[in-house]
């Protein structure tokens, strides 16, 4: 019970202190909206909104979660308020769950901003939203864990931002969002298969446009494996780097 109280209050504190702040809410809306407009202008009407939607959702989650978590944790580490959390009689796993859940919720919110806008232009009723939501949650979890991994390595907020981009931009280009994986150079293809976003985007593609490369169960399983592996890496790195 004590751990639940601590978990809930860490989550609530993060949501109130960071995610519900007006600049972040507006960022959460403006960023996905900008991506949507950019893609529509770039395609000059040749790409349909439905084809854009999976990529926009995935990008919104990826950028929202990794940025927020990496920056807020680095900020707390620098101000040493994070030490309070490390000193609390709760396990590191509980702490990690509480910290990533805020970012995951923020990511899910970001993902549905383009959906709301798309709903004004196309009929979204035929989409299996249950599976799409699962995909969004899994992308959000893996992205949040990536953000946490970045935070463990960064000492300054600007370092966290730089590291985030170092991971995010190659991921965007290699996960099949802009260039289909089958059209990637042979040397880059194996890398795309090592990215969780590839499988998350594939689920969203399958649900929204009906074009997917892999089976849903396979995609979900791979995403779960990624989530577990990243969670393990985060725990290990926190113990190694933060409890010196």
């Amino acid at each position: 019970m004590k751990a639940i109280i601590a978990f809930w209050n860490i989550l609530r504190k993060d949501v109130q202190n960071y995610y519900l702040k007006p600049p972040n809410i507006s960022w959460g809306i403006i960023f996905p909206l900008s991506w949507t407009l950019m893609q529509l202008i770039r395609s000059q009407g040749s790409i349909g909104i439905a084809e854009l939607l999976p990529g926009l959702m995935a990008m919104s989650v990826l950028f929202g979660t990794t940025s927020m978590l990496a920056v807020t944790i680095t900020f707390e580490r620098k101000g040493r308020s994070f030490d309070r959390l490390l000193l609390a009689p709760i396990s590191i796993s509980t702490l990690v769950f509480a910290k990533i859940l805020g970012a995951v919720l923020f990511g899910i919110f970001n993902a549905f901003v383009p959906v709301v806008f798309a709903a004004f232009f196309i009929d979204l009723s035929g989409i299996n939203w249950g599976i799409a939501v699962v995909a969004v949650i899994l992308i959000a979890i893996t992205s949040a864990l990536l953000g946490l991994l970045i935070a463990v390595s960064a000492k300054e907020v600007f370092e966290a931002q730089t590291f985030s981009n170092f991971f995010r931009f190659p991921m965007l280009f290699l996960c099949g969002l802009f260039i289909p994986i089958e059209k990637l150079p042979v040397i880059l293809k194996p890398i795309s298969f090592c990215l969780p976003l590839t499988y998350g985007t594939d689920i969203l593609n399958g649900m929204i446009t009906g074009n997917s490369s892999f089976d849903i169960i396979f995609n979900i399983s791979i995403m779960l494996v990624f989530a577990g592996f990243l969670f393990y890496l985060c725990l290990r790195n926190i113990k190694r780097k933060w409890i010196l």
């Binding site: 601590a6 504190k13 009689p89």
Partner: protein, 323 residues
């Protein structure tokens, strides 16, 4: 066996040995001070004991629990007040205290009640709803201390609690530490304020370059460098000519005449005043004042560590300016 037992504790950071094989015991209800200059290993030692750092080797047993393997158990009954105020700038005082209490599993009503009590105790009630970032240094320090004790810990770790704050706030904090001691809390405090350590600590360990060079109660430490008892007498006239006679009449005592109208009586045993006063009275010499001369803790520190106290003070001023 004390409530805290540290044995052969070592901490290496790559090529730097921050803590070199230190051992000490703290009894229940005791205020134990780690006194040393910056970089002596005080914070490294505390960090290992509270679970923010992993020892290279050694043992830490706190209230019978292995403080390395079962640190999460230990963390449930210890309170930590770090050397930097590490609360949340955007949150108000009340919110900060409630949040810290929630980390120890305290329920809403209980933590709100306790937060209000502490705000009142620290004279911060008027600032309860102000963001932490708007607090003065002294207020920030007090709220940080309140956050460290909100869950009513059995043992407290205070890292440089009064560094960088005004005299009045420092005095209030020292009073608070003594109140906590009176409540039966065991307190480990690190400081480089010699007077502070002398005033509030039951036992003090001098730590220099990662090693404890001396540990004991204040009288024990003083005795260790100055085993002789000294009494200085302020006299009505000179006794230069009577020195030998005085020494002959006083058992196991030595007499020194530092200046015209005073003398020092020195002995390995406690000095009884009445025979001396009687003797001087018989000679028609008035005694206006008798004062026991004791070395200060600063003298002891300088003698034991070889570090000039002024150096400690300079460091403290530097830290104060930064803080």
């Amino acid at each position: 066996m004390g409530i805290i037992n540290v044995s052969n504790l070592k901490k290496d950071y790559e090529d730097v040995q921050a803590v070199k094989d230190i051992s000490f015991t703290i009894d229940q209800g005791e205020v134990f001070g780690l006194l040393g200059p910056n970089g002596a290993g005080k914070t490294s030692t505390i960090n290992m004991m509270i679970g923010l750092s992993r020892p290279t080797s050694g043992q830490i047993v706190i209230d019978g629990i292995d403080g390395i393997k079962d640190i999460k158990k230990v963390q449930s009954f210890i309170g930590v007040i770090p050397d930097e105020n590490n609360l949340y700038d955007e949150m108000d005082g009340f919110g900060n205290l409630c949040f810290c209490a929630s980390l120890y599993g305290m329920r809403k009503k209980e933590r709100e009640k306790k937060a209000m009590e502490l705000l009142d105790q620290f004279n911060l009630t008027d600032a309860a709803k102000r963001p932490f970032k708007t607090y003065s240094k002294g207020m920030r320090r007090k709220l940080t201390i309140a956050a460290g004790i909100i869950h009513n810990p059995k043992i407290l770790f205070l890292d440089e609690p009064t560094t960088g704050i005004d005299v009045e706030s420092a005095r209030q904090i020292r009073e608070l530490i003594l109140n906590l001691k009176n409540q039966g809390k065991t307190i480990l405090i690190t400081t480089h304020y010699i007077e502070e350590a002398e005033r509030i600590c039951d036992k003090i360990a001098f730590i220099v370059k990662g090693q404890i060079v001396k540990v004991g109660t204040v009288p024990e430490l003083m005795e260790s460098v100055e085993p002789e008892h000294k009494i200085k007498l302020q006299l009505g006239s000179s006794i230069k000519d009577m020195r030998g006679e005085l020494e002959d009449n006083l058992v196991d005592c030595r007499v020194e005449i530092p200046d015209e109208n005073s003398c020092l009586i020195i002995s390995r045993d406690r000095i009884a005043l009445s025979p001396i006063l009687q003797l001087l009275d018989n000679k028609g010499i008035s005694v206006y004042e008798a004062k026991e001369i004791k070395p200060s803790l600063e003298d002891v520190f300088v003698k034991v560590t070889g570090i000039e106290a002024s150096k400690l003070k300079k460091e403290k001023e530097k830290v104060g300016k930064i803080g």
